[in-house]
């Protein structure tokens, strides 16, 4: 049960964090200038967007959940099951970022889910 909770937090908070950061990046705009000073200005501009801070907070939560899960299960189990974030990412991108997900991408996500199920079934 605890493993489910940690896995859910890793996938949900990790994906949620990435979606928030992605939204923040879209607010900030595309990077055209890759000089160090311009990149530093870009980072400061990104830090003024509240979505960025939501994203960082959620990714921190996901990281500590990953640590907790690694204290219980083998790394060869934990890392592959976190691939479930591809499915969460596809749903999140569709609902939150209004991205269009192609049928081919859904097929890939479905195959990832089958793989995660197989890895989950291999649990001690």
């Amino acid at each position: 049960m605890l493993e489910f909770l940690f896995l859910f937090t890793i996938v949900a908070a990790g994906t949620g964090g990435e979606l928030c950061v992605s939204r923040a990046m879209k607010v900030v705009g595309e990077v055209h200038d890759f000089r160090p000073a311009a990149l530093v200005r870009f980072v400061f501009r990104a830090m003024r967007v509240s979505w960025m801070w939501f994203g960082i907070a959620m990714m921190t939560l996901a990281f500590f959940s990953l640590l907790a899960m690694l204290s219980i299960e083998n790394v060869s189990f934990v890392v592959p099951v976190t691939a479930l974030s591809y499915a969460a990412g596809a749903f999140g991108a569709m609902l939150f970022l209004r991205e269009r997900i192609s049928p081919q991408r859904w097929v890939g996500v479905l195959i990832v889910c089958i793989g995660v199920t197989l890895v989950w079934l291999s649990r001690r």
Partner: protein, 180 residues
């Protein structure tokens, strides 16, 4: 198998320096300006650039799993989360912060992140993502050889299926929304 080899062969259909964006974009589409920009910015196909890409992808598929293995080693030393009680939270956090393995793991994950960001500055995401899916297999190998974990056949099959899924996800169009 041929298709897999072709994917990783430089200078072919979905080689790292040819944007897959062009595959789905037709003349007169709203992406015309974006496409023109991509064509203008497309990298020259040089052996040095390919070598650099392969080296960085190798670093990606090594550093991410190695980081996770080190985190796992560090966390196993702290004790199972199943036995954690709320009163021990500071003790556990102190254990995490003072663990050398955890810091090495974080350093490896940072190295992975830098390599990932660097390679994405010239190679396509749709090339890098499937290539980096090998890290799922590498993490199982490292877990088996470095940590002595038992990896049952069903888990290997599951990992290979995940790699195949990520491979397909990575071969889809990298941009589905219009530019703002």
């Amino acid at each position: 198998m041929k298709a897999v080899l072709a994917f990783f062969t430089p200078g072919r259909g979905t080689a790292p320096f040819e944007s897959p964006a062009r595959m789905d974009l037709t003349a007169g589409s709203t992406f015309d300006a974006y496409r023109k920009g991509l064509n203008r910015n497309r990298m020259k196909d040089s052996p040095g650039l390919h070598l650099k890409t392969y080296v960085l992808i190798l670093l990606i598929v090594l550093f991410a799993p190695l980081g996770n293995v080190l985190l796992s080693k560090g966390m196993k030393g702290i004790g199972s989360a199943k036995n954690w009680v709320p009163g021990d939270i500071f003790h556990i956090l102190a254990g995490i912060v003072t663990s050398g393995y955890i810091w090495l793991g974080i350093a490896c994950l940072l190295a992975f992140f830098v390599a990932y960001m660097l390679v994405l500055t010239w190679a396509d995401y749709s090339y890098v993502q499937p290539a980096s899916s090998f890290s799922y297999a590498v993490v199982a190998l490292l877990g088996y050889f470095l940590l002595g974990e038992s990896v049952p056949p069903l888990r290997w099959i599951g990992i290979l299926v995940i790699c195949a899924g990520v491979f397909i996800v990575g071969h889809t169009h990298p941009r589905t929304t219009e530019k703002a």
